[in-house]
Symmetry: C2
Subunit: 347 residues, 2 copies
Amino acid sequence: MRATVIHGPHDIRIEEAPDPVVRKPTDAVVRVVSACICGSDLWAYRGVASRTAGQRIGHEFLGMVEAVGSEVRDLRPGDFVVAPFVWSDGTCDYCREGLQTSCPQGGFWGEVGSDGGQGEAVRVPFADGTLVKLPKETADEEKLLPSLLALSDVMSTGHHAAVAARVRPGATVAVVGDGAVGLCGVLAAQRLGAGRIIALGRHEQRTAIARSFGATDVVAERGEAAIEAVRELTCGQGAHAVLEAVGTEESMRTAISIARDGGAVGYVGVPHGGSAGVDISQLFDRNVTLAGGVAPARAYIPELLPDVLSGAINPGLVFDRTVDLDGVPDGYRAMDDRTALKIRIAF
Amino acid sequence: MRATVIHGPHDIRIEEAPDPVVRKPTDAVVRVVSACICGSDLWAYRGVASRTAGQRIGHEFLGMVEAVGSEVRDLRPGDFVVAPFVWSDGTCDYCREGLQTSCPQGGFWGEVGSDGGQGEAVRVPFADGTLVKLPKETADEEKLLPSLLALSDVMSTGHHAAVAARVRPGATVAVVGDGAVGLCGVLAAQRLGAGRIIALGRHEQRTAIARSFGATDVVAERGEAAIEAVRELTCGQGAHAVLEAVGTEESMRTAISIARDGGAVGYVGVPHGGSAGVDISQLFDRNVTLAGGVAPARAYIPELLPDVLSGAINPGLVFDRTVDLDGVPDGYRAMDDRTALKIRIAF
């Protein structure tokens, strides 16, 4: 089969790779129908997160089950499935509690020795614990595929930010970051009944999507000016719930500063270095909670799926370009230089 | 009247001060019956937190209302009251929501221009919003006074840590810090139904109180060894809820490290500097929530009071020495060199 391989910074190639096979009785092999490129893949692409030369990449995909091991009970060849961005055994304490990202047997697609999502097929460990079955007929619904694929990571992660920030019906919400996760955070906040949603972002094409996802206000400023603008919109108080979807020191500082006293920052931007931007004294004086982390997509997919199927939410709108496998290196370039928001790969 | 005054590091004096009077129609004057010295007063005593020479000090007291302004509605002379460690107007958004520590008109006893709690009398701004009435007959119950006084700060703060750490019935709880706040955190966790309470501390006299407050395990180690010990006690997972009651970089690092994935750290130790000990990557990877801050004692006192009156909780046991006003400078010395846990002042 052919798969995406990272050889170093800015060096993404499509190469021949061994066809995945069932190695353990709990494995499945999935033929990928659609995958995508994540903003967090860019950390590897830019060399900020280190990778071994020749490592696979990509952690979001949906597809058809092609083969299953002897101990796989809930899936069979021909099932249409979506994969969360980490695999998990489905049986440990954490999996049973819905925090599958902490499964001791879990792992991340593309880590050394595993297949990545941006390839024609994937060996899936702990298939029962990992994969979520989709209605078979949806495999032919081209218009639905992007939104189903978004459940794999970006929509589940936006939802995690909203849950961590304790978005409640009627709450004033602010979302820092107009990338695909931030936009899905807007959608998640709207879905949870937020009364007002302030999207921070300066790219008009993106803030237009934010508005279509439920943002009531857009703040194009950054840093101090953004903080002032949000305070002005909220009678000086700030937002009950702030979703931080970037992961830089500046974005965290902004997020904490625009949170209302007693409110919460739900952060899902992968943090880079130390305690970037976390001012503990500010959190302390104002009783602002800091919550979030890596999203347990496996727990959220079943919860969000009905709303995708009904059309109540359409997170697939974050994809603004579709490529085939050969177009993936170009896709990375486009996301890196921000000419594309999020790239979908159709096989 | 006579009051405690701080002139500089290690320079606490008892001096003559003007008798407080009602200045604003919402003021009351309270004749102090009992007050105490707080661990956080030691930051000023040691010169870590700066004070203006001649500033009053002390922020925990109970006493008799002596005079009220014309707009005070709920209190009258002769009422027995306890004061939370900040005053608040009782009418703003934050006060109505129970986050009185964020009241824009609020303030801290002893700040420049205000009376401190460690004096014979105190002018209380926004008396209706600030003071909590106690049953009159309790003023004569010598045995109850220490526990009623503890509501002013130390017990309310321990409770805040437990609430912020999301202590639930049956939860495994760890408490970092064996000072008076940490001990009250143990008591609060027990009151909220914790299944297991691990107290971290090395002072036997203090851990004995922790045990009497409900601690099921005591870990005397520090740093890495403490982390290992807690992990061993919890099948390698850590505690669902961790109460951080110290405020140093090491204690915060320990608290985060012993939290179970998906759990929460409730911190109430006044932080000193930057983002001391907060490792955002560890929080992110394990979905550990960081919550807490300055405790809204005004909201908690009415909730905790019935349990003090019934004897269900006895937080006054954290006081291990009582002095009169002249004994206060000695009391600071004793708390500073850790020969006393917490000093009560009887007038």
